[in-house]
Point group: D2
Chain length 147, copies 4
């Protein structure tokens, strides 16, 4: 069972701003890439989960920015699932630059709530919850930052 | 009946890139703002049209860029409807900077196709087509550029 | 002196996602619009501040999402400056839907650090700091949520 | 010498809109990914070229959309350089879905103009022009669409 999922990609020109660095809200997009890959690594497709009427909506998001990413840098997002409840999931992310010069760029956490198509809270299917629970990692996001 | 709709807004920081100017694909987002306002000026809400199962999907888009837009510039999009058919609409756009220094920035055209929720071509309702036809402007996008 | 700045705009089609609502990272873009307007209301242009070599980079951002925004909704962002230090500013935001049906959508806070063009921390000019301090609002973001 | 560069990536959730498909301006972002990879395959880094004061700004862009891309689809962009002049480059792109079900999604062309940091037209360095010319592909974008 994967406990940490790793996603890598290059910073797009579209993601830069006039400061010459990746614009800060894009880090939440990168977290979503990490989350999609984490779920895929569990053998679930989030796209398929959503087609079956289980939507994971972001209820809380926070990011701490330590260093900047530049165009064409190779970024790595390490994603963990730090809390699983019947209706909410909390993911923690470490965002690194791998190339050209390795650096820790940011940490982030997002809490997602499971909804049905009408936006009402809905318990995740047990088979899915079991997979998430088996992949739950006891460390908190705060621990990740310090570690 | 409005023949030219005008939309104004400021360039967002989010829209800049590391060249220090508005990133070029955002001009198509600005065209969509112009199109939404044009349709609203006809007394139709595109949001409502879509809720009723009439989707307008972009089939072709082209943009000619003449000058750059910078963060916080006041942009004006002038939108015309240059061709109406039972299943397609062609809009033409002139994008200007109004402040701080007026300049013509770009011209663009987009052709939209009317689809149902399943993505199949679907004739627009006659009441809507009539409104579009009454607002149709004979000039082509090419004429707009030269004019 | 303005203590709360108000920004209003409509949700763009570009901002929606396949859940049919505004995609969550865009709320940070909306906060930046609120921040730009807040600074403008003080008589300062952030664009001009940046041209003079004072960059405000986001060091921390957090958002709590309470309800969804849909395409073409009229959004209002109320922005306050809740903490001013010589090198950091903390803004708090309340994001509301004004039309068609009023609702509180989200609260957010961002902490910005003042940098020079090379990314090194740099004290803001005293004249600018004085304006920010005069506009500082003692409430925390947490109070804003409850209030 | 590479004549066609291939870029592959998955559609991000961030790229979807409320029609449930990738929002049309993002195709120009995908073209830029293709262009970046094409230039990299020639042994040049566009990031480095820009650091040396050679900016390639988009002067014209056009896209024809044939089919939609959905979240998590694997997209492939095939990029060719169809015209090289001393100050302009024209690229043509074919955008395909590779997974889950292969399909041709769109064709596009963009013409870029070489500028200096102040936005004035500037001839590309001969060493770079030589590499571009050697990679020039005689077919036009129009031929690509039909072929």
């Amino acid at each position: 069972m994967t406990r940490i999922s790793t996603s890598t990609f290059r910073v797009r020109y579209a993601e830069t701003d006039q400061m010459g660095v990746a614009y800060h809200p894009h880090y939440l997009v990168w977290c979503e890439i990490g989350r999609t890959d984490f779920i895929r690594d569990l053998g679930i497709s989030y796209a398929e989960l959503e087609r079956r009427g289980h939507l994971l909506a972001v209820a809380e998001a926070s990011v701490r920015y330590a260093a900047s990413a530049r165009y064409d840098d190779v970024i790595r997002v390490d994603t963990r699932l730090v809390a699983v409840k019947s209706r909410t999931l909390t993911f923690a992310y470490e965002i690194h630059r791998d190339e050209p010069d390795p650096a820790a760029l940011a940490t982030a956490t997002t809490t997602l709530i499971s909804l049905d198509r009408d936006g009402a809270p809905r318990r995740l299917p047990d088979t899915v919850l079991d997979l998430f629970r088996a992949a739950e990692h006891p460390d908190t996001g705060a621990d990740m930052i310090r570690g």
